[in-house]
C-alpha cells in the first residue's frame, strides 16, 4: 500500500470508467433481496471508499431508486451495476465486480442479511455477520 494507491474500474461495455484513490475503507457482502435482484448474483459484494475518493472518468451512470435511502447506479448501455450511493453520509459503495483489480480487494469483513443467504452459498467463517443490518438484527 502506498500513498499513491489508486484503483480503476468500469462497466462491462466500457462506456463508464472510474477511479478511486487510496485503500478501501471496508469490503462486505449483502444477501438482501434487492441486491440479489439487481446483480442477479447470489453473492453481491461491495467495496466502500470515502465519496471524495471517487472520480468518474468516462460516461455517466443511470440511477434507480428502490428505497428511500439510496440510489443504485448502473450503465444504461450494458446494465452493469456500479455504485450504491446513500443519500446521507460521506461514503460511496462500489460493486466489487466493476473493479479492474477485483481479485486484489481484501477479504470481506462483514456480511448483511444472512437470513436471506441462498442455502448453497458458503458461509465466510470469522467475519462479522448480521441477520439483517447493524441495528436491525
Amino acid at each position: 500500500m502506498t500513498a499513491n494507491e489508486q484503483h480503476t474500474g468500469g462497466c462491462l461495455c466500457g462506456a463508464i470508467r472510474y477511479r478511486v484513490a487510496g485503500p478501501p475503507l471496508r469490503v462486505g457482502l449483502c444477501h438482501c433481496g434487492q441486491c440479489r435482484r439487481q446483480t442477479g448474483s447470489a453473492l453481491p459484494s461491495f467495496v466502500t471508499w470515502s465519496r471524495k475518493a471517487l472520480e468518474i472518468t468516462k460516461g455517466q451512470p443511470a440511477g434507480f431508486r428502490v428505497s428511500d435511502v439510496a440510489t443504485r447506479q448502473f450503465c444504461r448501455d450494458c446494465g452493469s451495476p456500479l455504485f450504491w450511493r446513500a443519500d446521507k453520509g460521506e461514503d460511496i459503495t462500489v460493486l466489487l465486480g466493476g473493479l479492474d483489480d477485483a481479485e486484489a480487494m481484501p477479504k470481506p469483513s462483514y456480511e448483511l442479511w444472512t437470513e436471506r443467504r441462498m442455502h448453497w452459498v458458503p458461509e465466510f467463517p470469522g467475519i462479522k455477520s448480521y441477520r439483517q443490518e447493524p441495528g436491525r438484527g
Binding site: Q38, G40, R72, S80, L95, L96, E103
Partner: protein, 134 residues
C-alpha cells in the same frame, strides 16, 4: 402426471417480468470476468431453461453482446441482469437472482471459469469445478 411447475421472475423495478415452465435443465456458477462485470459480483449463478418453456410477461429487455457468440440481457430502467443466451441455442440461461424464489432452485451442478475465482471466495469442492468454460 403432475402439473408442470412454473417459476416467475423479473427485474428489481418490476418493468420486466417472465415465467419459465418445468425444471431447469442445468444450473451453474460462473466466475468469468464478463459475468463479474455484469453482476458486479465475484460469483454469477445461472439456471437454464428450454426457450420453449420461457415466456416474457411484461417489458422488454435491452441487449448487450460482450462476446461474438452470446447476448446478455438486462433491464434498462434498473440495470438488473436477466438473461444470457448463446446464439442459436434452444436454451436460455437465467440469472438466478432474478427469480422470485431462487431458493427453490437446486444447487449448482458445476462451477466454470474457476481460474478467475477470487481467492477469498470459498472453493466449494462438492460442486465440480472447471478451470474454464465447459
Amino acid at each position: 402426471m403432475a402439473a408442470m411447475r412454473e417459476h416467475t421472475g423479473g427485474c428489481l423495478c418490476g418493468a420486466i417480468r417472465f415465467r419459465a415452465r418445468g425444471e431447469p435443465t442445468k444450473t451453474n456458477i460462473c466466475y468469468c470476468t464478463q459475468c463479474r462485470r455484469q453482476t458486479g459480483s465475484p460469483m454469477a449463478s445461472f439456471v437454464t431453461f428450454a426457450v420453449t418453456g420461457f415466456e416474457l410477461l411484461s417489458g422488454s429487455a435491452l441487449s448487450y453482446r460482450a462476446s461474438d457468440f452470446a447476448t446478455r440481457q438486462f433491464c434498462g430502467r434498473c440495470g438488473s441482469a436477466l438473461f444470457w443466451r448463446r446464439d442459436g441455442s434452444e436454451e436460455l440461461d437465467i440469472f438466478l437472482g432474478s427469480l422470485d424464489r431462487p431458493e427453490e432452485m437446486p444447487m449448482p451442478q458445476k462451477q466454470i471459469w474457476t481460474r478467475h475465482r477470487i481467492a477469498w471466495v470459498p472453493a466449494q469442492p462438492e460442486i465440480p469445478p472447471f478451470k474454464e468454460g465447459s
